[in-house]
């Protein structure tokens, strides 16, 4: 970290530190599907993958090859790890397009080719810090490991779990066993009618740190609310990834670094967990002039 006082000032204004590197490198394995269970609109798959399970940390993800031997889909699909333990890893998959649909069709006994665990974990707060975890859609599943770890570290955990409709909620019971859970749905088909962010606003005063996983719009709203409340927040982003292992540079987001400068950072290896106040949500999909190296692209300071 540089000693430049101007930079120090910017850094000081941020409430989060970048998530640390994972303790263990990923592995690539062909593993068996040990369990399959529809959960609302999603499918939960449990994989017999001891080497991944023992390495996995909350917030990390795995990447599946999809379509089988003759597949015309070349790129892996990234899926957040829901739970890891006892030699097994579970994931919750939403059938969005051809790749994820193929995944949801896997049956017990089928094998899948998976790489993981990938990416960085949610950083832990000081022991005992009350925490808020916020999940949208299948994103709630990715909070299970974190919530358990927070509990183990003495943090009381409040969970806000939302979705468009009741069938797109996820992991409510599992979270309920570890935390106090508030459910919201856009259409009121379960829990309170409204957005997770409405519920977040009512409880944010009670916690010392906020975590979120879900669609980008929700992450942005949650991060903004946390920052406005003076709380650190950590969000797990979902950005289109070609490789998942850091070699292709397709998955970048404008992220403010420890030195206060914004870089296009890879959400696969420098994320998917970022400090909520480090993601420049408004600039996603744009090239702001102050991103490192924007000048070389011909973008000039205004």
């Amino acid at each position: 970290m540089t000693g430049d006082p101007a930079v120090m000032a910017i850094t000081a204004a941020l409430l989060t530190r970048p998530a640390p590197r994972a303790a263990h490198p990923p592995v690539q394995r062909v593993v068996e599907v040990a369990g399959r269970r529809p959960v609302g609109a999603y499918v939960e798959l449990t994989l017999a993958a001891p080497e991944i399970a023992e390495r996995a940390e909350p917030g990390q993800f795995v990447a599946f090859a999809v379509g089988g031997e003759t597949s015309g889909l070349l790129l892996r699909r990234s899926i957040a790890i829901a739970t890891a333990g006892d030699g097994e890893v579970s994931v919750v998959v939403s059938a969005a397009g051809p790749g994820s649909t193929w995944l949801t069709e896997r049956q017990v006994g089928d094998t899948v080719d998976v790489v993981g665990p990938l990416g960085r974990r949610y950083p832990m707060p000081p022991r005992g810090t009350p925490a808020l975890v916020v999940g949208g859609g299948y994103g709630s599943a990715a909070l299970l490991g974190l919530t358990a770890a927070l509990r183990d570290a003495g943090s009381p955990v409040l969970a806000v779990v939302g979705a468009a409709t009741a069938d797109r909620l996820c992991s409510v019971d599992e979270l309920g066993a570890l935390a106090e859970v508030v459910v919201t749905t856009d259409d009121g088909s379960a829990g309170r009618q409204g957005w997770v962010t409405d519920a977040v606003a009512t409880v944010i005063g009670q916690v010392g740190v906020v975590y979120a996983c879900g669609p980008m719009g929700m992450l942005r709203a949650v991060a903004d609310a946390a920052t406005a409340a003076g709380l650190p927040s950590y969000v797990a982003v979902e950005e289109s990834m070609a490789c998942g292992i850091g070699v292709c540079m397709t998955c970048v987001l404008p992220i403010v670094g420890e030195d206060g400068r914004t870089r296009f950072s890879r959400s696969c290896t420098e994320g998917p967990v970022f400090g909520g106040d480090r993601v420049r949500f408004a600039d996603v999909g744009a090239l702001p002039w102050d991103v490192v190296g924007a000048d070389a692209m011909g973008v000039v300071a205004p």
């Binding site: 289109s240 070609a242 490789c243 397709t250 999909g285 090239l287 692209m297």
Partner: protein, 321 residues
């Protein structure tokens, strides 16, 4: 004289195939390399591949200054391929020299450094900066960049512009570092470009770079990529890449070729070798299989052995005979 002619064709051989090859005048233990932009600068592959055992790490094309690259979305998946528009994001030559190349050199991994620029002098300056750098085995000149001095026309699409770059690089580059020119398939006559750059002093040819493509998002009804068009890569383009290698080896049998474009398996690599490549790069397939570079090496070795070749060299260009 191949083992085929001595009668062992089709029989498994017990002894090992000699897979050594050369990039220009520099010998490497394996003909299988990474492809520029598809393995970053090597470090991320370490969990999956022994970087010292592969031919070389071809680094992401570097320019003089650090570059942010283009805004996202930067990729679109396509049938058996993908489109990318990264915009050469990277640390610039200073960053490469201070961080990435020492990291590779410490481990004993060979770097084949891809350089890029928008004017001839940029390329020359990069070559100059890379003289004598430990672990730098040679240079790959990525001429698939827009030439700012020619209304943005890509260097590789014009034999004259392409050879200007190559001769400028060859003039200042470390004499011990072979210079490969990386050709674009998006030309009417790739042989004329290949001829021009070898005449200009290229020690070898890397081929092919991506094909220019476009995908429209049926939801937004706009091009998917921020950069509108992007580069098509992956198995989808393999027949085009093989055709380019075939044509150029046919016309210039003495020019060493680093073949690439859709290589996913040892049998794919074998096709490039038979067509005339003396080494190959594995690019997009790494995204599907992070250990692809090592696996392709092993599969190629087995495929050559099965076909009775005692060495890779015997197989280079065999399909033309």
């Amino acid at each position: 004289m191949t083992a085929t002619e001595t009668g062992v064709h089709g029989h498994k051989r017990r002894f090992e195939v000699d897979l050594r090859t050369a990039l220009g005048s520099v010998e490497v233990p394996s003909p299988v390399l990474t492809a520029s932009g598809c393995s970053a600068n090597g470090a991320e592959l370490e969990p999956f591949v022994d970087l010292t055992a592969i031919g070389a790490v071809v680094t992401k094309s570097v320019q003089l200054r650090p570059r942010s690259g283009r805004p996202t979305p930067r990729m679109a998946e396509t049938p058996s391929g993908m489109l990318n528009s990264i915009g050469l994001q990277g640390p610039g030559i200073d960053g490469l020299l201070s961080d990435d190349l020492p990291w590779l050199a410490e481990r004993g991994a060979r770097a084949f450094v891809s350089i890029a620029g928008t004017r001839v002098e940029d390329f020359a300056e990069l070559a100059q900066r890379l003289r004598g750098v430990p672990g730098v085995l040679g240079l790959e000149v990525n001429i698939s960049c827009p030439n700012v001095e020619s209304r943005g026309e890509v260097f590789a699409c014009d034999p004259v512009a392409a050879s200007d770059v190559v001769s400028a690089v060859r003039a200042v580059a470390d004499p011990a570092q072979p210079v490969y020119a990386k050709l674009s398939p998006d030309v009417t006559d790739i042989v004329s470009v290949a001829r021009a750059v070898t005449d200009a002093g290229a020690d070898g040819l890397s081929m092919i770079n991506t094909l220019l493509g476009l995908v429209i998002d049926p939801d937004t009804m706009r091009p998917v990529l921020g950069g509108v068009t992007g580069g098509l890569s992956g198995p989808a383009i393999r027949p085009v890449a093989l055709r380019c290698v075939w044509q150029v080896h046919q016309a210039l049998p003495e020019a060493p070729i680093l073949g690439m474009g859709g290589i996913r398996s040892g049998l794919d690599a074998l096709q490039f070798v038979l067509a005339g490549a003396s080494a190959v790069s594995v690019g997009t397939a790494v995204f599907n299989d992070p250990s692809a570079v090592a696996r392709v090496h092993d599969e190629l070795a087995a495929a050559l052995a099965q076909r009775g070749f005692a060495s890779l060299r015997e197989a280079v260009g065999y399909a033309h005979r």
